[in-house]
Symmetry: C2
Subunit: 408 residues, 2 copies
């Protein structure tokens, strides 16, 4: 009996980083660029802001005109007008000030703003009850970014703040790495399309396809469904070869039986060099996972059990998508802290993912393990997230503080 | 001078939960239902699975035929055939077995499966080196879900596992709460559209609009941009009234000066009853936030500074979107643990959000605060996430372990 050669999950991530490269870049408009990773360094084409701006509502002053003033001894300045928003500021002379709103431009002679709360108005005269230091309540020209400063580096991912930063620079289009197209095949003669109303004995609906397509979309890829492959090697290979030409990543799901696995592995060897890289991962659920590099394109063979398939695709499919999308470094894996409600055993040398439901104990969260076989989707639908038991651990005890990765 | 009445952030979330209700439901196809919240209870229309299935590759047996067997004393069974995937299983008699693949149907007389690793084949005779208990390596009919069992409850959000679960039941469409449409207006005469190449003195580009539109999309809403409102109350009110009819949530951004804030607040009072609910939040950055209920529709007035606007929209805009989308309970707020690299002061009675960059120290993450005014988008683009300092704290010390909410 041939044993499965299993690879450590961290090593699989290294293989992904080493074997694959980011996709070509394309020019895209800023409104559509959220989530993409830059394929170019961006430098500021101008100063941000391009003029000295007030950060408060108040009076623009020369700071020295307020020196020595305080609660009982106001500085008295003459107000010569108001800075209209979006307009150049008027000039002020010594002992003068002008009204300015948040975001308004400072007169060239002003270097600080006295907040409106610290003033009193008597006709055209303003009493300032607080002295201000030069620069106080002012954002200076170029303070956010100076012209020609590096603004964003290559492979930086565009989140909302980056979109805003680029918009503030007047940049309306960027070069970013293309979003990977992921092709999905389901395998197994027992499967029928999930829209089939009546099942014959022995048949089950292909529930992995729609959930994996959604996961791929969430991970930032464009999913493409190829249908259910027959348990016939020639047809299997031919359809796979044709799909691989149209996509950046190819994923097989459902072939957990030896027969399906065998077709998948043989197909991976035929589709391109160097072929199969990983034939099992020391992870539970999800051990019987296949990964290949077929002529530079990643091909992933997921275990057939739905819970395993989703878990593996989330971790390794996600890492492949990130790599091709040009994302720098690893994703953070934020967690919610919780108290484990019962003992859990785990085999050393294997990373275990345990489904848990989080309940509010009043003082924080309790992590309640949801047990069930890896074929049972209901258990995953009941779970809020996954508890990861690292390979070096042999289990966890009730009451222990644990960290839960939320399944969103 | 009128002081701003500030509301505690948790109380603002309570106000949102009390004042607003989920949007009407609509029927949608399962492939497009990811991220939506159910507006109906779902019961299983059939058993899942609908037949006893093997969870491994092996031989389907009557468990009692293997009792007493072991490493040196195999039970010997006659193999009468193979269960073809997707086909009814053949019958077996006493002392017989048949080959079954993972997911294959069990013969009616079989109640367990011996894993292929625990057998040896000699012609038609199979030696089993391990006894199996009844039910071993089998998922029973109805084990995942029994016909008429509750499968998913109303307001459950559809993630990948739920999509799979519904697909396995043959459910191709569901009733779910509509995705909220969020209308955005920018306010302030200093603003010009971000695509404007040349700026006049005193003008700045409207960078909040594109970043907020992207945030709204990420939060599960459909954004709609209404443009930049003039500093003219009649036009301001008229355009707002017309937009409010077309959207579920209305958001004003940019009006942080007293004038703009005043227009926004007055508009909120005019647009519908009961009007203004919140006129400030004890949070930093983001204090000058307005929230109103205008005839049942939420209207949010964001502070003008970009960092404040994004922070507030993420927290409270997100909560409003969740509420209207019918999401049950609060979102989890997962974090990454890190060691703070320096002291941070904070005012008691106010929740502070500090931008931090996470660096890998080898033994975990360091949280390096990124300082800068709330007008500076660059500081948020440099930050990986936010450190929350609760209102009751007066600061944090270098070396302290902190939890960072990742900004994605």
């Amino acid at each position: 009996m041939k044993l499965m050669r299993v690879t450590d999950p961290d090593h699989v991530l290294k293989i992904i980083a080493e074997h694959f490269v980011p996709l070509k870049s394309e020019e895209m408009v800023l409104e559509k660029a959220g989530g993409y990773c830059l394929a170019e360094d961006i430098y500021a084409p101008e100063n941000i802001p391009d003029f000295n701006r007030s950060t408060v509502d108040g009076y623009a002053v020369a700071a020295k005109d307020t020196f020595g003033s305080g609660e009982g001894i106001p500085a008295v300045l003459e107000c010569v007008g108001e800075v209209a928003m979006g307009q150049p500021a008027p000039s002020i002379g010594s002992g003068q000030c002008c009204l300015v709103h948040t975001g308004g431009m400072l007169p060239p002679e002003a270097n600080a703003v006295v907040m409106i709360e610290d003033t009193d108005v008597t006709g055209a005269m303003i009493q300032c009850f607080r002295q201000v230091a030069p620069g106080e309540n002012v954002i200076h020209r170029g303070e956010d970014l100076k012209k020609d400063d590096p603004a964003l580096a290559k492979s930086h991912r565009l989140r909302a703040p980056e979109i805003g930063l680029l918009a503030s620079l007047g940049i309306t289009a960027v070069k970013a790495h293309r979003r990977p197209v992921v092709g999905f095949f389901s395998t197994g003669d027992e499967l029928v399309n999930y829209s089939r109303a009546e099942l014959k004995p022995g048949q089950i609906r292909d529930s992995n396809a729609p959930s994996l397509l959604y996961l791929a979309e969430q991970a930032g890829a464009e999913p493409k469904y190829g249908g259910i492959l027959p348990d016939n090697f020639d047809a299997f290979l031919e359809q796979s070869r044709s799909m691989l030409q149209e996509v950046d990543i190819l994923v097989f799901s459902g072939g957990s039986s030896v027969g399906s696995r065998d077709y998948t592995a043989r197909t991976m060897q035929e589709l391109g060099q160097p072929g199969l890289l990983v034939e099992g991962i020391s992870i539970q659920p999800g051990k019987p996972t296949l990964l290949a590099n077929c002529g530079g394109k990643p091909v992933l063979g997921l275990p057939g059990h739905p819970v395993s398939a989703l878990n593996i695709f989330k971790i390794f499919g996600g890492a492949i998508i990130d790599r091709l999308a040009g994302r720098e470094g690893k994703r953070f894996r934020p967690t919610v802290k919780a108290a484990l409600t019962r003992n859990i055993s785990s085999r050393s040398g294997r990373t275990d993912y345990v489904r848990v439901k989080l309940t509010n104990s009043g003082e924080g969260f309790n992590a309640v393990p949801v047990f069930g076989r890896s074929g049972m989707l209901r258990t995953l639908a009941e779970a809020d997230g996954l508890l990861v038991i690292p390979a070096e651990k042999e289990g966890l005890s009730a009451g222990e503080s644990v960290e839960i990765e939320i399944w969103d």
